[in-house]
């Protein structure tokens, strides 16, 4: 049967193609030189497998920001290696990063996005939900 041209597009199906998938970030660094963001010095920051970092969370999470490098780490750390489909992948390039904080009057959204290229050339957008600390990936 030929589908009528008037049949509405099933946006729910389209969405499912790019539905964010939870991932684990193995290691974070402060923005490094060479292949990553810019000319910042490397400063590794450990991120646990469940996505939690050095005890630093944003407003609304109930925890206080730590001072000094911990705070910088919380604010500016970028993923270095991630677990994707049970494989440890290295982030080669971060093409862009940005933050969203919105909808606080309804369902609070606070995310830090990274438009990355992994080893092997895979192009991905990953983000961290700054309220839960969890990481997600979606196709770019």
């Amino acid at each position: 049967m030929v589908t009528s041209t008037r049949t509405p597009i099933r946006t729910d199906r389209l969405r499912s193609l790019n539905r964010p998938k939870e991932i684990k970030v193995a290691e974070c660094t402060l923005p490094a030189t060479s292949n990553q963001l810019s000319t910042h010095p490397t400063h590794p920051v450990r991120v646990t497998a469940d996505g939690q970092r050095d005890g630093t969370q944003r407003e609304g999470s109930g925890e206080k920001l730590a001072a000094g490098s911990g705070q910088l780490a919380a604010e500016f750390a970028i993923p270095k290696t991630i677990w994707l489909d049970e494989t440890l992948r290295t982030v080669d390039v971060i093409r862009e990063l940005w933050e969203i904080e919105d909808e606080w009057w309804r369902d609070h959204i606070a995310r830090r996005y990274f438009d990355v290229i992994l080893d092997g050339g895979k192009h991905l957008v990953i983000y961290q939900n700054r309220l839960t600390g969890k990481w997600y990936a979606q196709t770019a």
Partner: protein
């Protein structure tokens, strides 16, 4: 060079709340937070203005933080640039540019600057390329890197390498990385310096929610509707300096340049480098100011206090010498003389305004002094005051003393029309560039915040309005949660979704400025162009220009503020004199009337003062009945006593009791000596029965009891007139106690007296002001007593004014024998007129009938003769007279003169004019060609409208009822056992009574500890109902919203004053069926319902 140790970054792009809904923190918050973060300097760059710069500079100076002055300027193409001031020339240029931004635009809400203007006047300025919507980033985004490079090269050529900087911002907005890379690339290729900025819109991250709400408010939409306008994240706060340096670690030069710029801007300090100079007086080239002033004053002294004739001569001489010394000491001689020039100008204006009118011969002053300046003999001699300070024993120290640090205020009152013209003449005399009106910044309070934030959060409109209406008007926005708990139906809401946000955000927005407005009368004149000292912009009123600083900033800038205030009562007096002259042929000279007329005082003493100046309020009427004034000095006390200062200081009841004791003592032939807290206070307080009633007495008491020096007294004087005066005045307690102890005063006495002193941190009058107003109060009483029809006519024509609505004034006029006649299309004028001792309501009082169109109607009537019938009226009236206006005129009886019923008239309107929905323009269009024929259906007859319909129509079309009180029609249907106001006198004190009436006024003074006063009026008079706070909370909806109330309570009788202390308040109900109504086919229930739909305006405070 980047300092590898401590951070070096300085923020150079920062908005405060004075960017008006584009910044969520006050300049003070920003300065304090910057200091806490270790910033040595910070630039405030509000949008198109320097509104908050002086506050910022003052706060920063106290914190030893370098305040850099700047602004973000909108350009004609919608982009923006950030401009900083490097030196005094730059400041002058920035002020001129900002003024041009505002004055050269047709729409005053959309200030924009031509880039070419900036190119011409950029000396002394540092220009930065702007934020994401800035000049260069927008070009880059819209037209690509080549166009952006070209534009940057043009800026480099125009401004030079030292002046033009490219701003790099990293707030983690999508596209930032690419954009800053491209901008840095352009800068490197053209060797332009880059500078890091933070585009700060709030001082801490937690304020980002408020900022989001402000964006929604600014765009008149909800949060959901403002996605396109809001910032994408919460990174627009004042960051830790180390954090910013880390963000820009790849561009250390961008960080370093912030320090370079701050260093360059160090040479300009807004606090000290303005160079404001007050204009010189006329004739300054021939004689020095002190000589000229002294000569003028001594000549006047000879005339007003002739030797051997005047009992006050010696005192006047002594006083003048003292004041002239003080004037010379503070270099104020020129200041006084300029005021004299202004008063002469006012006299010319008054002569021009009154030219051709009969009151031109009435010896009316162009204006009058008010406030503390009335106590100065120099002001008296220069015509700036009309009160003799020697005869009235006025204390000069409140106005002028040796230790004073700022220039004293001279406030002048004028009739409205003279003031309007005077402001225009001052502009033309001193030049538009040298003159500006002082502005004010209305701030967010509870009602404004619930309305604005509530709409942004998309809360139900009905509920928002309910909260705005039912909440206490005195509550601040930060008390939203507490207020919600008190409003019936909103308990627990403060924890509900969105309402919780409303409470949180209201707390944050409390006290922040919303927009710029015009101060009541302050004007700044400068000999150096004002436009180079503070930016100017258009006011909402045509032909007015505002300076961007409010009263306090102007004071901090040491500007001399001239207060030209419009006083409605002076306009009323002018008109009243004109009407009396026309009516009687004689011009009354108000300066020579009998100021001790017993008949006038008798009327005042029984509280018959509705419509009089300053002594008409509910509280004043009660006070008059108890204190019974018999001369101008007593009236000055009346004017001063019902003010927060004496009330909080506990002066009112002791004063009234002691006056009564004095009366009784005098009756018994004894002398009365009022009790004093300490004998040292005798000189200061004996004339006011031992209590502090006037501001000047605060200084006198402190000097007499605690030995305050003139310097301490000056500090106290300044504390009284500034914000947060209570805290400032409390700071004097230790000095007060020490001084009092040295004089042998016990601590308890000192404490009791100091409590009264602190009371004046609330508001109080100086005696000079009270005497000036007391005199005007008497003159208004005299005019009303001897010329009631002229007085009420002038009172109607000069509304809005005073405590009562026109509805109450109408019945008060009736009580004084003045009939109020409904408008008549063939006899009424545009405004109210006198017709055989009655007051004929003017045609422009009818809703939808504007002044201009009614003027044209009256002109047509005068040219073409009276209108003969409705069709004649419809044919000849100006086309702008709408069908609505004609119908309204018919409803209120303005066309009754055509001899047919109002229903027949309304029918005819329908025949001659097309229905409203068919009207294509606002002009009235006739249905058919102009034929001299009657309409075939013209003569159908209808019954006339009934009395209750007429009354409702009057409320709907006029806003008040000229035909009488609604209770005269409702009397048979009102609840049983109701006591009429004029019968309350016959009931016993403490007896339970029920009263009902129309709500005339609701007051919840902030000094009354939560008590509410409701003034009710029935067909026989008025009664004051006192509502205890817990009763108010129980019946809040009825008290705050109901126009007709039924009250049960206890009658309180106290020395002639009657009050009902309410136990229960309910909306008034009436019987559904009453024979007298039924006979006429009417229903009292329906009538009351209709009345409730169009209630007369009640005045509500608090």
């Amino acid at each position: 060079m980047l300092n590898s140790g401590s951070p070096t970054y300085i923020e150079l792009h920062c908005h405060s709340a004075f960017s008006f809904l584009d910044g969520a923190s006050s300049p003070e918050e920003i300065a304090v937070h910057a200091k806490a973060l270790g910033y040595p300097a910070l630039a405030l760059t509000d949008r198109n203005g320097l509104y908050g710069s002086m506050i910022f500079a003052q706060t920063a100076s106290d914190l030893e933080l370098q305040a850099i002055t700047g602004a973000e300027v909108s350009l004609l193409d919608g982009t923006r640039l950030t401009i900083l001031v490097e030196n005094a020339t730059g400041y002058k240029n920035l002020c001129r540019l900002l003024t041009e931004t505002h004055l050269k635009q047709e729409d005053r809400h959309d200030p924009k600057l031509a880039f070419s203007s900036l190119c011409e006047s950029h000396e002394g300025l540092i220009i930065m390329s702007g934020d994401r919507d800035g000049f260069l980033p927008t070009e880059l985004r819209q037209n690509g890197i080549t166009a952006a490079r070209k534009l940057a090269a043009k800026c480099l050529d125009t401004f030079g390498r030292d002046t033009f900087f490219i701003e790099l911002q990293r707030n983690a907005v999508k596209g930032d990385l690419k954009q800053t890379r491209a901008l840095a690339d352009i800068a490197d290729k053209l060797s332009i310096n880059v500078v890091a900025t933070g585009d700060v819109h709030y001082h801490t991250r937690k304020k980002h929610r408020l900022y989001d709400v402000m964006v929604a408010i600014r765009n008149r939409t909800t949060l959901d509707g403002s996605h396109d306008f809001r910032k994408p994240n919460s990174n627009f706060y004042l960051r830790d300096r180390g954090e910013v340096e880390f963000l820009f670690h790849d561009r250390p030069d961008a960080i370093h340049n912030t320090v370079v710029i701050a260093e360059r801007c160090r040479s300009f300090n807004l606090k000290n480098d303005l160079g404001y100079v007050f204009p010189d007086f006329k004739g300054g080239d021939m004689q020095s100011a002190p000589e000229a002033l002294a000569e003028m004053c001594w000549q006047k002294l000879e005339r007003l206090y002739p030797k051997e004739e005047s009992e006050h001569r010696a005192e006047a001489e002594k006083r003048l010498k003292h004041e002239l010394e003080l004037a010379e000491h503070h270099k104020l001689s020129g200041f006084f003389l300029v005021y004299r020039d202004l008063m002469e100008l006012a006299q010319t204006v008054a002569d021009d305004v009154r030219k051709g009118s009969r009151r031109a011969h009435g010896k009316l002053l162009p204006g009058r002094g008010r406030g503390s300046s009335v106590s100065s003999i120099i002001c008296f001699f220069l015509g700036l005051s009309h009160i003799d300070p020697v005869k009235n024993k006025l204390f000069i120290g409140r106005f002028l003393n040796k230790e004073m640090e700022s220039v004293p205020d001279i406030d002048l009152d004028f009739p409205r029309e003279i003031r309007e013209e005077l402001i225009r003449r001052v502009y033309s005399r001193y030049g538009a560039e040298h003159t500006g009106l002082v502005c004010t910044f209305p701030t967010y309070r509870l009602r404004s915040s619930v309305r604005d934030i509530g709409k942004a959060l998309d809360l139900p409109m009905g509920e928002i309005e309910q909260v705005a209406k039912l909440a206490s008007h005195y509550s601040d926005a930060d008390q939203m949660g507490e207020e919600l708990e008190k409003i019936p139906g909103f308990e627990g809401r403060s924890e509900a979704p969105l309402w919780k946000d409303l409470c949180y955000l209201s707390e944050q927005i409390a006290g922040l400025p919303r927009h710029i407005s015009q101060h009541v009368g302050g004007m700044i004149i400068s000999s150096k162009p004002l436009v180079e000292i503070v930016p100017l912009e258009l006011s909402a009123m045509p032909d007015r220009v505002l300076c961007q600083w409010d009263k306090d900033s102007c004071d901090d800038a040491r500007f001399i503020k001239i207060d030209f205030l419009a006083l409605g009562m002076l306009s009323l007096v002018e008109e009243c004199v004109e009407l009396i002259t026309r009516h009687t042929g004689k011009v009354p000279d108000l300066s020579r009337i009998d100021f001790n007329d017993a008949k006038v005082y008798d009327q005042i003493c029984v509280g018959d003062t509705v419509g009089l100046f300053q002594i008409e309020s509910r509280a004043q009427i009660q006070m008059l009945r108890r204190s019974r004034p018999r001369n101008i000095e007593d009236l000055a006390v009346e004017v001063a006593i019902i003010r927060p200062g004496p009330i909080v200081g506990g002066a009112v009841n002791p004063y009234v009791r002691r006056r009564e004791d004095k009366r009784n003592a005098e009756k018994a032939g004894k002398t009365y000596k009022p009790p004093l807290d300490h004998p040292l206070l005798e000189e200061a307080l004996s004339e006011t029965m031992g209590v502090i009633l006037y501001q000047d007495q605060v200084l006198q008491v402190c000097q007499a009891l605690a030995g305050f020096t003139a310097g301490q007294a000056e500090g106290l004087r300044r504390a009284m007139s500034r914000r947060r005066s209570r805290e400032k005045m409390e700071g004097f307690w230790e000095d007060f106690l020490r001084g009092a102890t040295e004089r042998g005063v016990s601590e308890s006495t000192a404490k009791r007296v100091f409590e009264q002193v602190i009371g004046f941190s609330e508001f109080g009058f100086p005696k000079s002001h009270a005497v000036a107003f007391g005199l005007l109060a008497y003159q208004s009483a005299w005019l009303r007593y001897y010329h009631p029809s002229e007085y009420y006519t002038a009172l109607f024509n000069n509304q809005p004014m005073g405590f009562y609505s026109l509805d109450v004034l109408t019945r008060d006029a009736n009580r004084h024998g003045v009939d109020v006649l409904l408008p008549d299309i063939n006899t009424s004028d545009v405004y109210c007129t006198i017709e055989d001792d009655a007051l004929r309501i003017g045609l422009s009082f009818v809703r939808a009938a504007g002044t201009d169109v009614m003027e044209a109607t009256v002109v047509e009537r005068e040219h073409g003769g009276p209108f003969k019938c409705l069709s004649d009226f419809v044919r000849r009236a100006p086309p702008d007279l709408s069908r609505d206006a004609i119908e309204n005129l018919v409803w209120v009886g303005a066309c009754d003169c055509f001899g047919i019923t109002r229903r027949e008239l309304l029918w005819q309107v329908g025949l001659w004019l097309p229905p409203k929905h068919a009207a294509k323009t606002k002009h009235r269009v006739r249905r058919q060609m102009e034929l001299p024929l009657n309409h075939p259906h013209e003569n159908i007859s209808f019954a006339n409208v009934k009395a209750d319909e007429r009354l409702v129509a009057e409320y709907q079309m006029l806003g008040f009822a000229a035909s009488g009180h609604p209770f005269t029609l409702l009397k048979d249907s009102l609840p049983q056992n109701l006591v009429r106001c004029n019968q309350l006198e016959k009931h016993e004190h403490d007896e339970i009574v029920t009263v009902a009436g129309l709500v005339v006024a609701r007051q919840r003074p902030h000094t009354a500890k939560g008590f509410v006063f409701v003034l009710l009026e029935d067909e026989t008079g008025m009664i004051n109902v006192i509502v205890h706070p817990d009763i108010h909370d129980r019946f809040r909806i009825a008290i705050r919203g109901e126009p007709y109330l039924w009250v049960e309570g206890r009658l309180a009788k106290d020395d002639g004053a009657l009050n009902v202390i309410a136990n229960e308040l309910r909306p008034l109900t009436v019987q559904r069926r009453v024979p007298s109504f039924e006979k006429a086919g009417q229903s009292p229930y329906r009538f009351l319902k209709d009345l409730r739909r169009s209630p007369p305006s009640a005045k509500s405070w608090g």
